[in-house]
Amino acid sequence: MPLHPQTPNREDLEQTWTYLESGISKIMNDLQEGMDMKAYMGIYTAVHNFCTSQKAVNSSSTSLHHQGGVHRGAHLLGEDLYNNLIHYLSAHLAGLKQQSTQYTDEALLGFYIREWDRYTTAAKYINHLFRYLNRHWVKREMDEGKKNIYDVYTLHLVRWKIDLFDSVQKHVMDGVLKLVEKQRNGETIETAMVKSIVDSFVSLGLDENDSSKSTLEVYREYFEKPFLDATTAYYQFESKQFVAENSVVEYMKKAETRLSEEEGRVHVYLHPDIMVPLMKTCQRVLIQEHAGLLRDEFQVLLNNDRQDDLKRMYNLLSRITDGLEPLRTKFEAHVRKAGLEAIEKVANENADDNLEPKVYVDALLEVHEKYSSLVKIAFKEDTEFVRSLDNACREFVNRNKVCKSASSKSPELLAKYADSLLKKSAKAAEEADLESKLDSIMTVFKYVEDKDVFQKFYSRMLAKRLVHATSASDDAETSMIGKLKDACGFEYTNKLQRMFQDMQISKDLNDSYKEWMNNTLDEDALKTAVDFSIQVLGTSFWPLTPPNTPFNIPQVITKTYDRFQTFYFQKHSGRKLNWLWHLCKGDVKATFAKSSKVPFTFHVSTYQMAILLMFNDATSYSYEEIESTTGLSRDYLDPSLGVFIKAKVLNIEPSSSKVGPGTTLSLNTDFKSKKIRVNLNMAVRTEQKQEAEDTHKTIEEDRKLLMQSAIVRIMKSRKVLKHVVLVQETIAQIKSRFTPKVPDIKKCIDILLEKEYLERLDGERLGYLA
């Protein structure tokens, strides 16, 4: 058992300190040899005794100031011990400092870490032994606000910082930085070493005002700063060289790797606090300083559809502020160009009138599809890129080569495409497929500015599908209207929905008409009645125009005509029925052909029916006779006859002449057909074109009304408004339907001024006149 001096006299400082020093020194230098309980308790007791030594003296002299006496005494004696401890530590650290000079680099790091561990471990024990000093003297000094007094453990750290760290830290950091550089160069290093250094540096950060708290100040100044500087220098050099020798794409890969390596470094052995500044540093050096180079490559990557590289570039540039802004502009321009080129291509391949709606819409969709997936995959659906994509699409959807004549061409073609999907046809799409195609219509629809034009054409074609019963599926129709409603609101689809209602009402009407006939007609009349069904459609919901030709209703159907009117007016008095003969059709049985015993069934328009019925009475008529009997204008008569001649139902004299005055038409008894049912009800092409023109014309009118009603609505609620504000608000209200032009709005304001809905007030203001 090692020899220990006797527990010293409690009042003798020198004796007490000598005793303590040998114990401390043992803890400091030879802790691994252990310390027995007795020695430990000896030191502890010595500290306690020393600090309390004057208690007895004082307490006996003046019991009244018992407390104050203790204070004073402990104060004096504690200070002596505290100062002695400082002396001891300084001497110990001076020795270490001396020793450290023989080491450099990794060896120095080893030395530093070893001594740091020893020192801090010892500090914990010593702190414990001096607990009495901490609790009383140190606490009181600190409570009194004395500066530079610390608990014993902290005192150790403070002394380490002053007596050793300040002079060796630079050498230590050199070692650390060399080590990290080695690792960056690909060598394996002992990362634990760096970590220990970091921990040591962090421990030395003490809050000036509260030594129990630590700050990162020391670490930041002596570790972080040189570390970041070295990082900057390293990567500046490396990236400059790499860029000179490699492609931009290679560089992006390199930068990506480097960034993730640095991030990993933080997790493995650096303090988490460095993450933000380290990343900032790397991003500045690796990205910011090469941002121009990267951006220059962007167009190249876009042109070559390098999705992965674009993603890489996005990821890199998104890390720096405003890094993406120039890309967005370029992206938008690129998409717009791609869209315009795609449309130009289809426009060149197809003559203006022949451009298939599907081809056009597909071309639009293809570009959108391509770049929206790029935005999704490469640009993480970044909202700004999404906006750029939308801007670009809006541009090329509304202003491209096909729309050059009229911006309303896009919605027209889109509506026609929708019609082609929803119409019965041989190549009807599968249900799921159809649904996704309808969705893609909505994708384009979203970009269409003239939504009112789409509505017009859509409703016209829907009307046709319903009237001619050519709609492929009620579900698909409903689904499409639902989508339009979601996009534009109830008002937009109101009329469309009313059309469906009318169809249902008509069904019921036909049933009750049949019932009525059974009840009112006698048997003979029922037998001779023509098979008849009808749709009664509300004028204000259906975009149907009355026929623009006179027409003499053929004798055979006048009975039916009168009968239904009687029925209908009984049911609804005060209503008016307009007969849209040009939309009606019927089947006639024809027994004139010699070739077939079975009568043919001709599917014809009402006009054609009127012509054919004439041939019940004679087999040949002059053009003029037919014209006067049917009452049809030549615009309708000629094409109707044309179909008969082409189908060889009628013969024309002189043969192969054009239908017109002076010709004679006779029944072709040699008529042949493979089919028993023959469809002779062909739509007339000129009619279609005329219809498109009419539609465009009504759009102009509707727009004027829409603008006027918006203006009146705004003025009604605002009463007085500046002219400019009124124009802006009108645009805002109408934008969802089409983009109004300011001169057009002004014209509407003029009209409303004239109609005295509005009045001019002074200072550019307008007032509402109720």
Binding site: V742, P743, K746, I749, D750, L753, E754, R760, E764
Partner: protein, 253 residues
């Protein structure tokens, strides 16, 4: 009552001009701080103030009215023929914009027509009951048309309803053109001809009230900016004027 020499000069000027008695003239001048122009303005804008000079001879006005009324006319109206004769007697040419100022003052219901009531009330308001006094008043009105912008504007705006055919909302273009020529040749010198050219070759529609009214503002605007450099289509000009400016700029190119 004694006046300073400048006051006396203003007084005699005012009396000569307006043919008002001294008491009235002094009162109006005083109310306008002896500022001759202001006093004249206020006199002509409120012609009623003149009548304070003394009661006008109402019977004399009826007599004058009957003198010029034609036998075929109704008892209380001047037809165009009567008006012509009356104007001739006053030495008032139809090419004179003062006709408009007078028509307004006498509450003429439409072009070339006067009523007895308007005639009598109007003249007694103006304070004239003889042909001579009437002539003086007319030259005073003429002065006002030339020098008093507010007075002119009132007459200009009033003209539209007076000149347009009864039962119509707007003024036929050819009439409007004549009235503009008559009224605006001095106010709208750089643009009047071209404006008329534009309307007759491009626009070809009758002129609604708003266009009529706004053209006055436009004329004033062109006085400050004859080349229309600062004209703003986005502000509240009616579109016909926007279109004119477009036409003008196209031509000036």
């Amino acid at each position: 009552m004694s006046y300073t020499s400048s006051q006396r000069a203003a007084l005699s000027h005012f009396m000569q001009f307006t043919q008002t008695p001294e008491r009235t003239a002094a009162k109006i001048l005083k109310a306008n701080n002896w500022h001759l122009e202001f006093a004249l303005d206020s006199y002509y804008q409120n012609p009623g103030t003149g009548s304070t000079g003394g009661p006008t001879n109402i019977a004399a006005l009826h007599a004058i009215f009957d003198t010029y009324r034609l036998p075929d006319d109704g008892p209380d109206v001047f037809s165009i023929g009567a008006t012509m004769g009356y104007f001739e007697a006053l030495g008032l040419g139809l090419e004179d914009p003062t006709v408009l100022a007078l028509s307004k003052a006498l509450d003429s219901p439409s072009m070339g027509e006067f009523t007895r009531k308007g005639f009598v009330d109007g003249w007694s308001q103006l304070g004239a009951d003889t042909m001579e006094k009437m002539k003086d008043k007319i030259s005073a009105l003429r002065k006002s048309m030339e020098s008093n912008e507010a007075f002119f504007k009132e007459v200009y705006l009033w003209t539209f309803n007076w000149a347009k055919p009864t039962g119509q909302k707007s003024l036929p273009l050819e009439n409007a053109v004549e009235w503009w020529k008559l009224l605006l040749s001095n106010k709208f010198p750089d643009h009047l001809d071209r404006w008329i050219e534009f309307l007759t070759t491009k626009w070809n529609k009758s002129v609604p009230k708003d266009t009529w009214n706004m053209l006055y503002s436009f004329a004033v605007f062109t006085q400050g900016d004859p080349t229309l450099a600062t004209y703003d289509e986005m502000s509240s000009w009616p579109s016909v004027i926007d279109t004119y400016v477009e036409f003008y700029r196209e031509q000036e190119k």
